[in-house]
């Protein structure tokens, strides 16, 4: 088997709030291969969000090692972590987190601003990325002029624009209706087939069914790790009503 893209070795994460210690992760070991489409499931408080923050290099483990592409991230500086988030990782959030009063194109350009891509190339890549998610005709629309599904696809385009190896999605369908959710999942599956490692955090079994691997967490530990035949999502992009 190939070198894992992500390797967690006995990772713990402890939050201290005054005298109380909160053990959000209690020793998690995990390998993720390039191109894996993984769903992380669990109730709230199970540690899945903490896991997401660690995998996304927004946080460092209290103990244990996190190797990303063979590199131990606990030894990296904040600036180096920012660079990893910029170049290697893409984020998709439940509430989209687009910049308001900013066009879709400029929202998608945002990561490129922080990697000093020249203006012309920035524009071209952002456009290409929006076309990839089926929004080539919405470049100048602002978030408040788009439906939830469209906003989420802008967010996915933003996550993809710097050609990351890993796409992290935190409850990406939490604010979407079921049909739009399926669209988004179809997009993720398509991305997985191009070799991007997709990791989705969700508490909905319906959504996890689209993944090839489901990791269930409880009390900061991995309770089950199942490989399955993913349900195929059917894209219905374009049939969505205009806002």
């Amino acid at each position: 088997m190939a070198e894992p893209l992500v390797r967690l070795e006995a990772v713990t994460k402890i939050y201290r709030m005054g005298d109380v210690e909160l053990r959000a992760l209690a020793g998690v070991s995990l390998d993720l291969q390039p191109g894996d489409f993984t769903a992380i499931m669990g109730a709230s408080g199970s540690g899945k969000s903490t896991m997401m923050n660690l995998l996304g290099c927004l946080d460092r483990p209290t103990a244990g090692r996190y190797l990303l592409g063979g590199q131990d991230i606990s030894s990296l500086s904040n600036d180096e972590l920012a660079r990893l988030r910029n170049q290697t990782l893409g984020f998709v959030f439940q509430n989209f987190n687009l910049l308001s009063r900013t066009s879709a194109l400029e929202n998608v350009e945002l990561p490129l601003l922080y990697s000093n891509v020249p203006a012309a190339e920035r524009r071209a890549r952002a456009r290409e990325s929006l076309e990839r998610v089926g929004l080539g005709d919405r470049l100048d629309h602002h978030p408040n002029q788009m439906s939830g599904g469209q906003q989420q696809r802008v967010a996915i385009a933003r996550a993809l624009v710097n050609r990351p190896r890993i796409l992290l999605a935190d409850e990406p369908t939490g604010n979407l209706d079921s049909r739009t959710s399926e669209d988004v999942m179809a997009l993720f599956q398509a991305l997985g087939q191009t070799g991007i490692t997709v990791i989705i955090v969700t508490h909905e079994p319906d959504i996890a069914a689209y993944a090839a691997r489901v990791i269930t967490m409880r009390d900061g530990l991995v309770r089950s790790d199942v490989r399955q035949a993913p349900r195929a999502a059917t894209a219905q992009a374009g049939q969505e009503g205009h806002p």
């Binding site: 988030r85 687009l98 990561p111 922080y114």
Partner: protein, 409 residues
Amino acid sequence: MSWLMTLRVALRALGRNKLRSFLTGLGVVIGVAAVIAMVAIGDGAKARVEQTFASIGSNMLIVLNGSSQGGGAMGGAGSLPSLTWDDLRAIQTELSAVREAAPVLRAGSQVMSEDSNWNTSIQGTTPDFLRVRSWPVALGAEFTQTDVDGGMKVAMVGQTVVDKLYGPNANPVGQVVRVKNIPFVIVGVLAKKGQSPFGQDFDDVVLVPVSTFQQKISGGLKNFIAGQIVVSSRGEDGNARAQQQVRGLLRDRHRLSLDADDDFQIRNPSEIASAQQEGTRTLTTLLMVIAAVSLLVGGIGIMNIMLVSVTERTREIGVRMAVGARARDIQLQFLVEALALSVSGGLIGVATGLGIAGWLASAFGWSMLIRPDVILIAVGFSGLVGVGFGFYPALKASRLDPITALRFE
């Protein structure tokens, strides 16, 4: 992120809240505008004063006769003749701090040309007078010491007299002007000198040799100078040294005992000028204090709004960090926003201030002077205010934890 890009992002962020950005910058605008306007008007006034004092002669002293005293009533300055022609010669020859000295005798009189007449001040003096007053001749030549010695009927006329008797821009050199019906040949026209700080027209004058003045116009006293002596000083601190030397010499020559008062007076016009400059300096200091206070208040306003902005945009900061902004990118962005606010406030303030100064100058006939260095300092200072007061909010933004920031509601 490049500087240019950071600036563009900052300007867009400010553009999203135009009214708020404008109101935030208004403190700096008002402060800078007030200072620019007041400095422009103040410097204009100062330049005008300096110009007029320079026209009097900056290193000049005036020596006057003493005041008479009869039955307890004091006469005015110059009412008691005490300065003699020998005193004048002594001042001219014996004192190291004195460059030139000239007598000035005055009389008001009607003067006539072929076509017009005019009442003006006739002054009897010597060619040294022009050196003391640094007063060049515009047309023709000065009268000479020979003219003085010979009591010749020659005259130099001021511009105002030329205008009145011969018309503007006329050249009357060689023509005859009649003073008290005595014909004088005009040998020169004095360059225009303007007004004294108190509105007296320097150019309304006819200069004649002092000897001729005494013989033909106003007899006066034989041994005493029925007028004043103007003295020019030389060297550094010349006026003060010359004043001291002249006083010592005259007290000595007039045999005044140690406890006796001076029987003459020495006036130093440059003292008035320096008092005026002292006043201007006080005004400038006051302006600086006002500027500092208004910029401080403007800066606090900027800091306040920047802190609000950081809180409001916590999510945005979180997103930027998640997609790869480093702490210093965030810090720079907010710093540049504060800087853009304050510097554009400063620039608008400069424009407003110049507008106000221009309006005041034209409405009240004041002079104004635009000093590029003041404008640069004002804009530079507003920039400093932006950096100073924007630093803390920017630091606060850059230290946000991206996880918390992303969850912020």
